[in-house]
Amino acid sequence: MKIKILQLFLFILLFIGHLNSSDFKTYNILFIDISNDKRYTEWGIHPVDIRSNLKKEKRPLEGAKLAIEDTKRIERITKTKFFLEHKRLDNYLAVITYLHNIKNTDYDAILLDIKINDINNMKKILEKKENILFFNISDPNNKIRTNMCLKNFFNTFPSNLMLTDSLAQYLVKKKWNKTLLLTGPLKEDKEYSDAFKKSAKKFGVKVVGENFFVNNNDPRVRDKNNLSYLTKGRKYKSVLVSDVDGEFSLSVPNATMAPSIVIGSSGLKAHAWHWSYLRHGAPQLNGRFERLNNRRMESADWAAWIAIKSISESIMRVQSNENNKIFDYLKSNNLQIDGSKGISLNFRSSTNQLRQTILLTSSNNWVTAKVPLQEFQNSDNNLDTIGISIKDTKCVGGD
């Protein structure tokens, strides 16, 4: 008799367990970054903060954490529980090895917060993980958009060309389109200046010259470190500084030989996100981020947040959490994600780049303009005049 009751009890327990597990499915997301990533440990830190206790690495992992918090509030509709796992690896090679070794079933999605050094090699690895959805959430390299061409790889961080196109549109609108370039010593600085040169051609900005700066006080190379030399003579109306490190560019505004607007790494900057944006639900998003992470939200935080949001939005709409259906939905023009930047966003199916508004912000921390500017918008899509279009890619298919 006792055994029977026990059996019945066990049966009930099993039944309840079954009910719970069938109510909610799980979706596992991995966030990968590396410990000594100079983008967070060195670049962009204000010289004053280097000596300050307030110095804090602004890792976009915190944007992903907020997105996971947000998914908890849509569980009723997605019937999905999202889990975030974080792996901080030693270096780029370790990431490659790690990705190489994971199984196709280990995770549903992986957010990559790394600079992709070797696109072809990365492509070979990710290609084999065809069931996993990958997001590039922090690397603006244009080549990733033109060469990756994978069904399961998406970019939520804007490409360099999207950012420089945005600046070029603004210069043309203001008729400040005679530009002097100041390019820094790093590979990334050159990439940004090169992107700007493309944008200049596209929108009609005249590049009057390019000077290369170094960030030191050596009097022997003052033609490279002194703004009086770097900005002398030429007839320019604007100066673009490409300086990912960010220290040199701080001194450029208000210090050019001819009165001029400064854009790029200081002065008027192009961002995916800025904490000063006050419209379209941005204050609410910023508020949630600040309360969770005790700092202000930056572009890569936003890109990590919107990557997870685009997954949860897809699951909500296709009413399934199978990755195959999610891939199709992400690629379709039906996707409409609210990125708290005004109009709805979706992915270009050629480059798998998230179409998005770019915010141009002043050094007073104010959103001066939202790009694409109305004057440049085409008839197809409000967000299509900035960035890489299909004809610039090596990818096959798409629109």
């Binding site: 947000d70 509030r73 639900g281 609410q284 909500m316």
Partner: protein, 324 residues
Amino acid sequence: MKNIRIKTIFLIICIFLSSHIKAEYFFVSNENSDTITVLNSSDKKIVKTIKTGGRPRDMKFSLDKELLYVVVSEENHIAVISLKKLEVIEFLETGDDPEIFDISPDGSIIAVSNEDDNELTLINLVKKEKFKVLKNIGVEPEGVNFSPNGKYIYVTSEGTNSIIIINTKSYEVENEILVGNRPRRGVFVKNGKEYWVSNELNGSVSIIDTKTQKVSKEIKFSIKGIRNQNITPVDFAYSNKNKKVYVTLGSANHVAIVDVETYNIEKYILAGSRVWGAALTADEKELIVTNGNSDDITIINLKKLVASSSVAVGKTPHTVRVLK
């Protein structure tokens, strides 16, 4: 001679009477100048500007039309304005960042959305205090409506693209319905048979059948010469008399007129920049809308179906309410 005397007396009586008939006002909350503009319904002239403090947004009249409730978002309360004195007489605590609210049909409860904290706060209007805070209501809840029978509260959740239905007996979430993207506001139509929801990022309205609690219809707006992405519906005004729903279309700068029987979009009327708040006049012959980006209101003649005039008010006018 006698005739003239009678006429004069009559005229005097008339003047005397008219000055004692309660003037009809309408009210506009100005989000960024922290004021409410009071205007005369008849000549649309500004009568008074009431200071409210940080960020006044949604407004509603008490059932007896003696009071106007105004959420003051940055001060975390509702300011209560006496319509006789046209000044703030008291405050009701609401929790953080209140945005939109509604009063229960019996006048006993206020339900207000707290957009930043993702909560819905319930206030007992008799005791004048908070008695419940509901937390499980999505991300960035905004629109709040009591069903006309008082049995449910419908909340639009912008961040989760859904309508959350709360039972007013248990205060439990009874259902959640997926609608379009970024649902901003809702309105009960046909005495509660339908609940219309504005999907700001889809340029559409979802209609929920309140009996089945399912989306029964979607109305998609499209205006020649305006990109679909700029059509961002926000607020509603519903005229039972005209059998029409008026929908403000945000960045499209137009108001759509939709027939509630045929669901046809009958006309798009040009208003100001980022048109959002809407209210009908007492006779339902005019529609007043607030233009968030041009700091003015537009008055639309519903017979001729054109904007007849506009009046400059404060900065970022949010909501308009007409005393009927």
